[in-house]
């Protein structure tokens, strides 16, 4: 993990319709920030049992370049608060994190392409003060 990088961490699942609908926003962000210190991580909250049968084929079909992981944690009541105390647990949700300043923003909503670009660029500008 690099300290000068902005991390954009999206929580999604193959069963979550608004999550699927906003995936292209993250693909567009990845394409437009490819040579910049922005790292996008897509965290699937699918049942680990369907990793190979459902999640991996779905991700492969997308053909996106960002990193996809699956969160294999069984105690949501514990880890949801560790990610952000304001998160209700509803998805989609997105965390912006700056390793250098230890600053973060949590968004419990879905994003259009424009909104995501704007939100991330505002977050980066604040971090360059």
């Amino acid at each position: 993990m690099s300290s000068d990088t902005i991390y954009v961490v999206n929580f999604w699942a193959t069963w979550c319709k608004p999550c699927i609908e906003e995936l292209p926003s993250f693909d567009a962000l990845e394409k437009s920030t490819r040579n910049q210190p922005v790292k996008i991580i897509m965290v699937s909250l699918d049942d680990p049992k369907v990793l190979q049968t459902k999640v991996q084929p779905f991700v492969k079909k997308l053909g996106y370049s960002m990193e996809f992981v699956l969160l294999n944690e069984s105690k949501p009541n514990e880890w949801i608060n560790r990610i952000d105390s304001t998160w209700s647990g509803a998805i989609p949700a997105t965390l912006l994190f700056d390793g250098r300043l230890g600053r973060k923003e949590f968004h419990e909503n879905d994003f259009t392409k424009d909104d995501l670009q704007k939100t991330v660029s505002n977050f980066r500008m604040l971090n360059n003060d």
């Binding site: 999640v55 949801i80 304001t86 939100t119």
Partner: protein, 207 residues
């Protein structure tokens, strides 16, 4: 796909000052607050509200819906909770807060179909204006509010998840809601009064 260790390391870094950005939703009720009243239409056409439950000891108010795969995972557990606790004076009241324009599977007509198919023995009411979800601060389905009969109306005793095991995954299972109802019925303090779980965001009306 990468390892869990990597992710835990990543999550461990996410401490620090946080700023919340959601669609400016009200906070809703807290444990100990008076439960906001409502009157909403049940799948049988009758109007149902907290007044309907005035002879009970409490109500398990569950914001849930038809379409959400997480709500579906919990459907049979909600039915079982009603079977177990209605006889003890704490029945289930299920409430769908989703806008059918955003989520067509959650229309009133389809609620009737679901209630029939699953043989719901509890009301399944439609929060068409979403005012009840907003007044409680419900954010996802399923999202539970355990209410206790007070001298007038009801108070909120517990907010959160049904249990900690949506997938029936291996590992310990904590039945938060059952524990809370049991303690409430015993007149004992509830150990864990707020919990969280993953769920589908409530499908709010688009402006």
């Amino acid at each position: 796909m990468i390892s869990r260790e990597y992710l835990v390391g990543l999550l461990a870094l996410m401490f620090s000052v946080s700023m919340m950005f959601s669609a400016d939703l009200p906070d809703g009720v807290k444990v100990g607050d008076k439960a906001p009243d409502f009157f909403l239409t049940n799948v049988d056409g009758q109007s149902v509200g907290l007044e309907t439950f005035k002879s009970t000891k409490g109500v398990i108010l569950v914001f849930t819906c038809n379409h959400c795969p997480y709500a579906i995972k919990y459907q049979d557990r909600i039915i079982a909770l009603h079977e177990k606790y209605a006889a003890k004076g704490v029945p289930v009241l299920a409430i769908n807060p989703n806008d059918p324009n955003v989520s067509p599977e959650d229309s009133y007509e389809k609620m009737k179909v679901r209630a029939e198919e699953k043989g719901f023995k509890f009301p399944y009411i439609f929060d068409e204006t979403q005012k009840t979800a907003l007044s409680y601060g419900a954010r996802r389905t399923p999202h539970v509010f355990l209410l206790k009969k007070a001298k007038t109306g009801f108070t909120v005793e517990y907010i959160g998840a049904i249990d900690d095991n949506a997938n029936d995954a291996a590992g310990g299972e904590e039945t938060f809601l059952s524990n809370a109802v049991d303690k409430m019925l015993e007149g004992q303090p509830i150990a864990v009064t707020t919990t969280k779980a993953i769920g589908c965001s409530i499908k709010w009306k688009k402006d």
